[in-house]
Amino acid sequence: MALGDLERSVMDLLWDRPGPHTANEVRDTLAGDLAVTTVLTVLSRLEKKGLVQRDGGRRPHRYGAVSSREDHTVGLLNEVLGSVPDRQAVLARFLGGIGPDEAAAVRRLLGD
């Protein structure tokens, strides 16, 4: 499995089953025959990306998602809709570019 797919599986797991998990628990829940070191690598990559947090202190460390899938989706949406400054040009968002006023005017013209 590619690293990207693994990250996705791990995030799906942490999102769908809240509550911190140890790397061993993550490995046991994931399909396939993964080494714990692989799972730990993926978890630390996700931690660097700010998606996963590790509770400090005693070992074994436990990992959980920083915020929910819904929160991340809303975050993406805000970037796309330009609520985040300077992002609109960056994302080259396209189909939009029409405001609600104009949309309503066109709808009237269409006779809806």
Binding site: G4, E7, R8, M11, K49, L51, R69, H72, T73, V74, G75, L76, L77, E79, V80, L81, S83, R87, A89, V90, L91, A92, R93, F94, L95, G96, G97, I98, G99, P100, D101, E102, A103, A104, A105, V106, R107, L109, L110
Partner: protein, 321 residues
């Protein structure tokens, strides 16, 4: 004399020309041609903006940059440049002009580099999140490899250009609320943006605006170019899809966007004019041409505009060399 002509060109391209081009109605009949003209206006405008102070500042070393620049560099290296300039009453102003021109040129290049770098990194980060959150479409009718569906109710579609493969992102809300034909029209529209590399055009005009934000026409150019990319993508989608499907899809996403923002009509810097006093909304050219199709400009006229654009780009070079 050529410096005066160049200065006139710089002023014309900085203000009246972009304003007139922005008002021109013919662009809806030839968006691709208009796009070439906008690029020529920006490029020639930038060149003449840098070239005018540079050519004037180096005036004591020759009438043209081709002559004065090598003479100035030679004078710099043998230390005689101060002597040459001391004979000139305008010396402080000329030094300021040359310095300003060099700084402006550096500023433009640097802004382009910074904007491009930020764009690439933010897009990469956004894409990583999309790959984690979105799934390929379940429907077989939508091309699956380069499409992702975000689990959200707001109908929206956008494209994410990338170095290793671009993505079209749709929301589940779009798929649920639009008919299959409307969704396919949207996908065709987004694909056209990606295929025609509209992101690069937007990047260029975005950084041109960021670099010279004090020049209001750079915002005009940015908005006009954005609208032209929409027209071009509309045209590409209409080759294989129904006009009504495309218009309905655009209207639905536009309305939903207002709801999602919760700031309908109040957003500053919108591309769409606000409601007039009589309650009507002036439509952008993009919608005029979608609702009331007009035949494209004749090939002769379009060729004429292209030749004008090429001449415009060559003009500052001819005047400077």
């Amino acid at each position: 004399m050529s410096v005066l002509l160049l200065a006139t060109l710089a002023v014309a391209l900085a203000w009246p020309v972009p304003v007139l081009l922005d008002r021109a109605r013919w662009v809806r009949r030839a968006p691709g041609t208009a796009m070439v003209l906008w690029q020529a206006v920006a490029l020639a405008g930038g060149l003449s903006l840098i070239g005018t102070p540079l050519a004037w500042g180096l005036g004591p070393f020759g009438d043209h940059l081709g002559e004065s620049l090598p003479a100035f560099v030679a004078a710099l290296s043998d230390g005689t440049w101060v002597d040459r300039l001391e004979e000139d009453v305008w010396m402080p102003a000329r030094i300021a002009a040359v310095t300003g021109a060099v700084l402006l040129a550096g500023h433009l290049v640097l802004t382009l580099a910074v904007t491009a770098w930020r764009t690439v990194t933010q897009r990469r980060r956004h894409r990583q999140m999309v790959e984690l959150l979105a799934t390929p479409p379940a429907e077989r009718t939508v091309e699956q490899a380069h499409t992702r569906v975000l689990p959200h109710d707001v109908p929206l579609a956008y494209c994410l250009p990338g170095l290793n493969g671009s993505l079209t992102v749709l929301s589940q809300g779009l798929i649920d609320q639009l008919s299959e034909r409307e969704v396919n029209a949207v996908v065709a529209h987004e694909r056209a943006h990606l295929r025609q590399r509209h992101d690069l055009l937007r990047l260029a005009f975005e950084s041109w605006h960021r670099a010279v934000a004090w020049l209001p026409t750079t915002a005009t150019a940015r908005r006009a170019v954005a609208q032209l990319t929409e027209m071009l993508a509309d045209d590409a989608a209409l080759k294989s899809h129904d006009r009504t499907d495309l218009v309905r899809a655009i209207v639905l996403t536009g309305e939903a966007e207002g709801v999602a923002r919760g700031t309908a009509g109040t957003d500053a810097g919108r591309t769409v004019p606000n409601v007039q006093e009589d309650g009507s909304v002036p439509l952008t050219l993009r919608f005029y041409r979608l609702l009331d199709p007009v035949p494209p400009l004749s090939l002769t006229v379009r060729l004429g505009v292209i030749v004008t654009a090429l001449g415009l780009m060559a003009l500052p070079v001819v005047l400077l060399a």
